[in-house]
């Protein structure tokens, strides 16, 4: 009965809430993860050709960067409201909005990563007979991975946090619980959903950091012997 009391007293922390609404919390979390995952994946698929386009034809660089920057100044609230007439009340609204936001960060970072590739590496690859596509995937992209992953981490964390605003149309994952909790003045629901949302962002960030370390073994600095590192580098190239 002591557990019931915290629901009646409307406490911030309530174990009983987590126990009785476990299913609701799981569903919201899954929706949150799903929306984030799809948004970032599509964002990456769109940002990549855009960045390549901006790099190949310099005239595109200004418009592409300008467009994505302007998109970033559109408030999320307006973005989601504006997309409703296009997609109806569906998750596609939130996903599209989040994809558009992620473009700003992703395009910039991919461009920065590719620009930071040393010219010597390019020259060497060309000298070895690499064509433009093999040069891109075999040399430039691996070297751009740190900047690319940094951008991906920022985009993912921002997306997790922005997904909450999707609650205005009912597709905000954990944001839905925050929104409902705001209306019904349900403290435990708001706090639990908020904490889960932050935990989700931190977990995604750590996961991507781990992936980055797997992808760039040569960047790991430590007490490792120099010849071992040279060997690793050789394997990667």
């Amino acid at each position: 009965m002591a557990g019931q009391n915290c629901l009646i007293a409307n406490d911030w922390f309530c174990g009983e809430y987590v126990r009785t609404r476990g299913q609701e919390l799981t569903d919201a979390t899954l929706q949150h993860v799903g929306i984030t995952l799809v948004s970032v994946a599509i964002g990456l698929l769109v940002a990549f050709p855009l960045a390549l386009l901006a790099r190949r034809w310099r005239t595109f660089e200004g418009p592409v960067l300008g467009m994505t920057t302007i998109l970033y100044t559109v408030p999320s609230l307006a973005m989601f409201s504006l997309l409703v007439p296009v997609f109806g009340l569906s998750a596609a609204v939130v996903v599209t909005g989040l994809v558009l936001y992620s473009l700003t960060i992703l395009v910039r970072n991919i461009l920065a990563g590719l620009a930071a590739v040393p010219e010597e590496a390019r020259e060497a690859a060309r000298g070895m007979g690499y064509g433009p596509i093999r040069l891109l995937f075999g040399v430039e992209l691996p070297l751009a991975v740190p900047a690319l992953m940094a951008g991906l981490r920022i985009a993912t964390v921002s997306t997790v946090s922005l997904t909450t605003v999707g609650a205005i149309i009912g597709y905000g994952g954990l944001g839905n619980l925050v929104y409902e909790g705001m209306r019904s003045y349900f403290k435990a629901q708001v706090l639990t959903a908020s904490v889960l949302c932050v935990a989700l962002a931190v977990a995604a960030d750590l996961l991507l950091l781990f992936v980055q370390r797997l992808l760039t073994p040569w960047a790991r600095t430590g007490r490792r012997a120099v010849n071992r590192r040279a060997a690793e580098e050789a394997v990667v190239v």
């Binding site: 302007i70 408030p75 307006a78 504006l82 409703v84 922005l162 609650a167 003045y185 708001v190 932050v198």
Partner: protein
């Protein structure tokens, strides 16, 4: 492109601009909230960042803070503050949520700017007998100025866009134009609201770029040297 026409009609209808729910009133609230939050955020973040940057300490704090700032949803913070005892104090929940949102970009950029100052310059200044405070005020701050303003600028633009969230729990600002339009399923009004906020954000960005040019200590000095000649 019927929506564009209807948005234009909405924006050119005088009745939409006057009154408590009118654009002028909401714009005033929006600017007030943005300015107050930005000032408070700067008052807190700049001294801390400049001092930490001068001392060369707390780099991890500066970086982690900006990461943490991104991970915490402003909407959730706003609702949490509303349900707390602070919720009964008018605009304070909104202001606090936005200040927390604005501090990370201001602090991180100012810190990076201070650390990015050429160490040789600092050494030279010290060699000339400048005290720590003099080095900070005459060497590091002027050189870090562009990055410091960049941080404030990006915070300002983000705050302008994010202040719209205040409308969700019924606060003020241009977000109210958008939420009201959404409730009335009036697309033209939603577009008009979004347009107003985006234009305001771009104006703020432009104003800061101008301000940066006018006030940059190195440029001002360069102009002063050039003028008498």
């Amino acid at each position: 492109m019927d929506v564009i026409g209807r948005t234009w009609d909405w924006l050119t209808t005088a009745a939409h601009w006057s009154g408590t729910d009118g654009v002028w009133h909401r714009l005033g609230e929006h600017l007030f909230l943005t300015a107050v939050c930005l000032l408070i955020a700067c008052a807190i973040a700049l001294p801390v960042a400049v001092l930490l940057g001068h001392l060369g300490k707390g780099g991890a704090l500066a970086v982690n803070l900006s990461n943490a700032g991104r991970a915490v949803p402003t909407f959730a913070v706003l609702v949490l503050l509303l349900l707390s005892p602070l919720g009964t104090h008018g605009s304070w929940p909104t202001i606090i949520a936005l200040v927390l949102f604005a501090i990370p970009p201001v602090l991180t950029n100012a810190y990076v700017g201070m650390r990015g100052v050429d160490r040789d310059m600092v050494e030279a200044a010290r060699g000339m007998g400048m005290t720590g405070g003099q080095v900070m005020a005459r060497v590091e701050l002027p050189l870090a100025f562009p990055l410091i303003v960049t941080g404030v600028r990006s915070a300002a633009v983000q705050v302008v866009a994010t202040t719209t969230l205040a409308a969700l729990p019924g606060g003020g600002g241009l977000g109210r134009v958008i939420t009201a339009g959404f409730r009335l399923t009036d697309t033209a009004q939603v577009v008009a609201g979004a347009l107003l906020v985006a234009v305001l954000a771009l104006l703020v960005e432009g104003a800061f770029v101008l301000l940066q040019r006018r006030l940059d200590p190195l440029r001002v000095r360069a102009r002063a040297v050039r003028t008498p000649a």
